[in-house]
């Protein structure tokens, strides 16, 4: 292997390992935490940082422009839909109906 390939391998591998570390941490938190809000917090770790690190490592290890664009699209989708989903779950925990909050809409 050349020097450039070694550099690619090491940086990509470190990023991939960091992402796996965040995923394992979020799984352990999801198993050990006591209530649903704390578990939601643990799930958010893997959903944001873990997926970003894994995809960055993957983009460095095997670069393909279309593949990288698709992974960026997945990260964008997760980052938009994750907070919305957490909001819905929090509303469910608080016992209110989704989308119909008193005071924000007429009737």
């Amino acid at each position: 292997m050349t020097i450039a390939e070694w550099v690619r391998l090491v940086t990509g591998g470190i990023l991939l390992l960091a992402g796996l570390f965040f995923f394992v941490t979020s799984v352990i938190g999801n198993l050990r935490f006591s209530n649903a809000q704390a578990r939601m917090h643990a799930a958010g770790l893997g959903d944001t940082l873990g997926i970003l690190c894994v995809f960055c490592g993957l983009a460095i290890l095997c670069f393909d422009p279309v593949f990288v664009l698709k992974m960026a699209l997945i990260v964008a989708l997760i980052w938009i839909s994750g907070p919305a989903c957490s909001h819905l779950i929090a509303g469910m925990l608080a016992g209110e109906k989704p989308g119909k909050k008193e005071g924000t809409r007429k009737k």
Binding site: M1, E5, R8, L9, G12, G13, L16, G19, L20, F23, V24, S26, V27, N30, L31, A36, R39, M40, A43, G46, D47, G50, I51, V54, F55, L58, L61, C62, D64, V66, F67, K70, M71, L73, I74, L77, I78, S81, G82, A84, C85, L88, I89, G91, M92, L93, G95, E96, K97, P98
Partner: protein, 94 residues
């Protein structure tokens, strides 16, 4: 060991670790006492499966597999929104 072989070994190991994480998460979704716990665990499983799909796509060299992960990301949000709606409707009926 060439570059390609080293990358394939790394990707296989990472996919195996992620598969173990997804299985543990699925166990949480089965035993979780409240509906919210199940929903959170199912969401996490979905994210990990998306990562696994991309890892396997890079491992086999068939980059088109990533399309499946994009669709998965769209539908997992739809599924959780519908799940929340069903739970709240059922609670209202009681």
């Amino acid at each position: 060991m060439t570059y390609q072989e080293a990358v394939q070994a790394i990707l296989t190991g990472a996919a195996a670790i992620l598969a173990c994480c997804a299985l543990v998460c699925l166990a949480r979704a089965v035993i979780g006492p409240a509906p919210a716990d199940r929903l959170i665990a199912a969401n996490m499983t979905g994210t990990q499966v998306m990562c696994m799909i991309c890892l396997v796509a890079a491992r086999t060299g068939e980059y088109g597999f990533a399309d499946a992960a994009v669709i998965f990301a769209m539908f997992s949000f739809l599924a959780s929104a519908v799940f929340v709606r069903i739970v709240t409707e059922r609670r209202k009926d009681k």
